[in-house]
Amino acid sequence: MIWESVKLALRTIRRNVLRSILTLLGIVIGVAAVIALVTIGEGAQSKMTSELSKLGSNMLIARPGAPTSGPPTGGESRSFSERDVDALRNGLTGVRAMAASSSKQVKVIYGTASQDTQVTGTEPSFFDTQDWAFTSGGTFSESDARSGTAVCVIGATLVRELFQGENPLGGIIRVGAMPCEVTGTLAAKGQSAFGTDQDNTVVMPLRTYQRRIAGSTRIATIAVSGINQEVLPALQSAMAEILRETRRIDPGEEDDFTVRDMTQIAAAMSSTTSVMTGLLGAVAAVSLLVGGIGIMNIMLVSVAERTREIGIRLAIGARANQVLLQFLVEAIVLCLIGGLIGLALGYGLAALGALLLGIPMGFNVTMAAVAVVFSAVIGVVFGFFPARSAARLDPIEALRHE
C-alpha cells in the first residue's frame, strides 16, 4: 500500500513538473544552505584546529609593542635585547624550551634557482618551541650559535624549489650575500593561518643572522614554551614582570611589549567561527521552514484540485486513512526529493567554497542523514493538515465537485 502510494505520488509530481519544481525550490534552497554553511564552517574550524597544533604546544610569544597599540609590528617599538632574553632565561620556571628570534625576507640562491624566503635567526631550541621535526640532518650546534657560523636549516619548500631532487645536506646556498651550509631540512608544515607558506624558510643561528643578514642586534620575538597548559598563566605574568624590570618600565607606565598565549588566540578564533557557523545555519533553517509552508500551500491546492478524484477513491472503497496516507506520502516524497537535491547542491557549493577558501572539506554523514530526515519531517508536518482535509471529505460532496 505504501509502495503504491509512493508510485502514485511520483506520478502526480511528474504530471505537474513545473509546479513541483517551484514547490521543491524552498526545500532545496533551505537544505542546500544549511549543508553548505555548516560544511564550510566545519572545514574552517578543522583548519583552525590544525593551525593550532602547528603553532607549537603551550606557547607564549613576546613581541615588542604595547598591547593597546594594535597588532605588534616589531618595527618602530623598542625591540628586545640580549639582556631581556638572559633575564627571562634565568628568571622563569616551568619552561620547556625558549628561543629568541628575528626574521627578514631575503632572496636565497642555489645554482640557478632562487627564491624569496623568510630568513630567521634564532637559537637551536627554536625547533623545540615550534615542535618542528627534521626530515634530515639536524639543528645547528650551540657552538655554531655562539660563534655565528654560516650554517642553516631549510624548509620543505626550499628543498623542493632550490635543490630539485638533489641532496641538500652539505649544500652551500647563498642567503643574500652570505654563502651558507645546509645542516638540516625541516618537515612540511603547510600554510599558516595568515596564508603564508611556513615551509619557505631558512633558519640560522641568531648571531649569524644579526651580523651577516640584519646588521643589527635587535630581537623581534621571544617564544617560550611551557611544560604544560597549566603553567601558562603564571608564566605569562612572570614574563611580563621580568621584561618590565629589565626594560625599566616604571610602575603605572604601560608595557612596551606584548606577551600572547597563542593557543588562547587560536581557540578564541575557533569559537568565533563555530558561533558564526551556528548563526548562519539557523538563518538557513528559517528558509527550510518557509519551504515547508510552500509545500503545505501546494498540497492544499492539490487537494482542492483533486476533490473529485478523492470522491471516486472513497466511493470505490478507499478508507479515510488510505486517502490520508496517499496525500501524506505525496508531501513526504516531494520533500525528500527536495532534500536530496538540496543535499547534492549543498555539498557542491561546500566543495566549491572549500576550494576557493583553501580549507578542508568533510562529508558529515550524520548531518546528511539529519538533513534528509528533516526534509521528510517537514513533509509530515506540513503535509498532514492538507492530507487530513482530503481524508475528511464527504464522498458525495467530493463526487459532485466539478
Binding site: 472513497l314 472503497g317 478507499a318 464522498p395 458525495i396
Partner: protein, 238 residues
C-alpha cells in the same frame, strides 16, 4: 430472465422507515420521508422519479455514501447505520460497485489502472490485479484498450471501463446512477445489454437510477419516488 422468484428469498437490502433530512429548522428539507424497501439478491431494480424526489438520496444511502437521519438499513442482515466510516468503506470495497452518470474515471490514468484501483485498496498483488482488471475489461468488450486513458476513449467506452471497475471486485450489488445519462441512444442500449448480462449471467444485483422509461424497461422491477416517498413499486414480467 431470472431463474427464481426474488420474492421467495430473504432480502439482501432492507430499508425500514428511512428518513433523510438536510438543513435545520424552517429550512429543513425532507429528501427521504419514510421509505420501506426490500431488495432480494439477483434483482434488477430501476429507481425512477423527478429530480428532487429523493431517488438519488436513497441511492447514496444504499451505496453507503450517505447515512440516514432516521430509520434502519440492513445489508445482508447487518445494520449499516451502526457502522463506522471505515466499516462502510469496507462494505463499499467488498460488496458494492458504483457506476456514475459522469463516468468518474481518473483522468490521465489508463483504463487498466482505473479498473485496478479498487483492487489496490484491497491490497492485492500487482500481477493478480492486472490479470483480474484485464479480465474485467474483456468482459465489458474493451479488450485491447487497456492502455488507453479516458481522454482517448468514447463516452460509451468510458462507461464500460467504469462498469469493469465496478465488477472487478465481484460485488454483490452494482449501483448505477443514471449510467446512460451522458450517452446517445444506441450506446445506451448497448450498455444496458451489458448490464442485463451482468445481472442474469453473473447474478449481480443491479440497482439503477434513471429517468428514461426505455432504460428502466430493462429492469425486472420499477420503483418510482415522489416527494421523498415510494409512489409505486411494480414488478414487470421480463
Amino acid at each position: 430472465m431470472n431463474a427464481f422468484d426474488p420474492r421467495e428469498r430473504p432480502p439482501l437490502i432492507s430499508l425500514r422507515g428511512l428518513r433523510r433530512f438536510y438543513g435545520q429548522g424552517a429550512a429543513r428539507v425532507h429528501a427521504l420521508d419514510g421509505v420501506d424497501l426490500d431488495i432480494a439478491p439477483g434483482e434488477f431494480i430501476a429507481i425512477m422519479g423527478a429530480s428532487g424526489s429523493g431517488k438519488s438520496t436513497c441511492m447514496n444511502i444504499i451505496g453507503c455514501l450517505d447515512r440516514p437521519t432516521a430509520g434502519s438499513y440492513e445489508f445482508s442482515g447487518v445494520d449499516v447505520t451502526r457502522l463506522s466510516n471505515d466499516g462502510r468503506a469496507l462494505l463499499r470495497r467488498n460488496y458494492l460497485g458504483f457506476v456514475f452518470q459522469g463516468f468518474n474515471l481518473l483522468p490521465r490514468t489508463t483504463a487498466l489502472e482505473n479498473v485496478e484501483l479498487p483492487l489496490v485498496y484491497r491490497g492485492m498483488k500487482r500481477a493478480e490485479r492486472e490479470r483480474r482488471a484485464a479480465e474485467a475489461l474483456k468482459a465489458v468488450g474493451l479488450e485491447g484498450r487497456e492502455s488507453h486513458t479516458p481522454g482517448e476513449l468514447s463516452g460509451g467506452q468510458q462507461q464500460r471501463v467504469a462498469i469493469a471497475r465496478a465488477i472487478v471486485t465481484d460485488p454483490l450489488v452494482l449501483l448505477a446512477d443514471e449510467p446512460t445519462g451522458n450517452l446517445d441512444s444506441a450506446r445506451s442500449h448497448e450498455l444496458m445489454k451489458l448490464v442485463t448480462d451482468l445481472n442474469t449471467v453473473r447474478g449481480i444485483t443491479v440497482i439503477m437510477v434513471t429517468h428514461e422509461n426505455d432504460i428502466a424497461a430493462y429492469a425486472g422491477r420499477k420503483v418510482v419516488f415522489a416527494d421523498g416517498q415510494i409512489k409505486s413499486d411494480v414488478r414487470v414480467a421480463a
